[in-house]
Amino acid sequence: MNSSPVLLYLALAAHIAAAILASRRGPTIVLSGLGITLQVLFTVLRTLAACVLPFASRFEAMALFSLAIFGTGFLLYLVTGQRWPKFGTDILGITILAAALLPVGFHPGTALNPILASPWFSVHILAAFAGYGCFAAGLVWSTVHLFDRRLDFNPAVPSKLALAGLLLLGAGIITGAAWADSSWGRYWSWDPKESWALFTWALMLGFVHIRPGRKLAATWHVLVFLAMLFTFIGINLLKWGLHRY
């Protein structure tokens, strides 16, 4: 059964409107909330149609990644009230979602490889992408504060985002290991996806040890984001290892 992409296009429009109206708090909150709700609704309807959570294909993974970025950016805005980081996460999320809908293309749900029929699947993917969302928000925060020195640079914010990302991606890595142990018989095999996810995690772990200033914080987050992109997209495009779709 196919799930219509209309909800995602409406969500995209809502997020674009939220980005345009970034200077007005009320409309931004309403529009971003609407966009996130529409994306969640799309996920729920696609799950009901396919009888499995939609996290397996490249299109679905990019849609989930954009949702993680929008969600983290939205929470950050509610806590800090700073509109430029919110604008940055919106732009990043819009880019990812547009890339999922346009060049990659909408794909109706298809029957999955039976090896994915495990409760670990959903937990592993959700935790990993939530972690990626935190890292992406940290990147935007650090970059915005690098270019606008008038903004109050509170080092606790990127630090908390880093810890949240480490916790969530760490949970994603560990649940992936538990799943691999019960499915393939090896909890860790240094598969490229596993190795690069661990490297991304360890790179952010280094960040919380060095307590950098604005410039180094932004640079470090760029490195983490590049490692994350390679883990998420590069490995799949280069067709290395078992973890590809």
């Binding site: 190795s195 772990l205 280094g206």
Partner: protein, 285 residues
């Protein structure tokens, strides 16, 4: 007070090591598996983790249980990996439909065999359909007089082992063969490695049931031997004495020794708990 530079150096070590491993994994995980699985590497990693734990505790101006857990977790995890690597016996088991239990399985180093803790027989092969997924193969295994259905993500747990479904095989699969290496006779399973005097071990990479031949690989050299044929590798003489090909369909199962796994996941859990405590820790006044 421990210097911030020392903390930064120790804190960056995991990124450095994992970065090297990540790049190396792109060229094949085997080299990384060999390097990180060695006792020397693991012992070094445990010592480095203990050092990090000591530095973290000494650097604390006041009690911080999250930070302690965060640094204690890797010690537990790596100790678990070391013990599991030395003690656990995991590997691969080929079962032919209707045949008796072989009583042993091929260890995951592909060299040694180990005794099966319980006899296992393959009684049937079927399929199951789950909504949203393609059909999955299911094998029916007989253990201790009872039949168990095993498929992906639904292993058989018995005698401290998990038996997982790897893949199904067709009739004609190479079950075992006898190879004479100089004057020593070996009974080998498909893919099993056998040491020879010159260079790395030898192993079978393919088989041809119709031609009654087995493909053997040594370094980059590959050659085919028929039953009774002779080949020479360096100064080592090889003779293929016999080969048994399965008459019926079968299955390759993974025998997973999970008895020593708990500390690994417990250590990882401590790291996550430490991160959680740090995340919600109030900033110091």
């Amino acid at each position: 007070m421990t210097s911030s530079k020392a903390i930064a150096i120790v804190g960056l070590l995991p990124a450095l090591l994992s970065g090297v491993a990540a790049v190396a994994s792109l060229f094949g995980p085997e080299s990384v598996q060999a390097a990180t699985g060695s006792g020397v590497f693991l012992a070094g990693a445990i010592l480095a983790s203990i050092l990090a734990l000591i530095m973290a505790v000494r650097a604390l101006p006041r009690r911080n249980p999250g930070l302690v857990l965060l640094h204690f977790g890797p010690v537990v995890l790596l100790a678990g990996v070391l013990v599991a690597g030395q003690q656990s016996k995991s590997g691969y088991l080929f079962l032919e439909l209707g045949a008796a239990s072989p009583g042993f399985f091929l260890r995951d180093d592909l060299r040694q065999i180990a005794e099966l803790p319980v006899p296992v027989q393959l009684q049937g092969i079927e399929q199951q359909q789950q909504r949203g997924f393609r059909p999955a193969p299911v094998v029916r295994l007989a253990v201790d007089g009872r039949t168990h259905r095993v498929t992906y993500n639904q292993p058989l747990v018995t005698a401290g082992r998990r038996i997982l479904l790897g893949q199904l095989t067709e009739p004609g699969f190479l079950a075992e063969y006898e190879l004479l290496v100089d004057s020593t006779e070996y009974l080998l399973l498909h893919n099993q490695q056998v040491a020879i005097p010159q260079g790395p071990p030898l192993h079978s990479f393919g088989y041809d049931q119709e031609g009654q031949k087995i493909g053997l690989a040594h370094c980059r050299e590959r050659f085919w031997l028929g039953i009774g044929d002779t080949a020479t590798v360096g100064s080592t003489r090889l003779v293929l004495r016999s080969a048994r090909f399965a008459a019926n369909p079968g299955a390759i199962l993974v025998v997973n020794d999970t008895r020593y796994r708990p500390p690994i996941f417990a250590g990882a859990g401590l790291v996550l708990l430490g991160l959680l405590l740090q995340l919600f820790r109030r900033p110091q006044q």
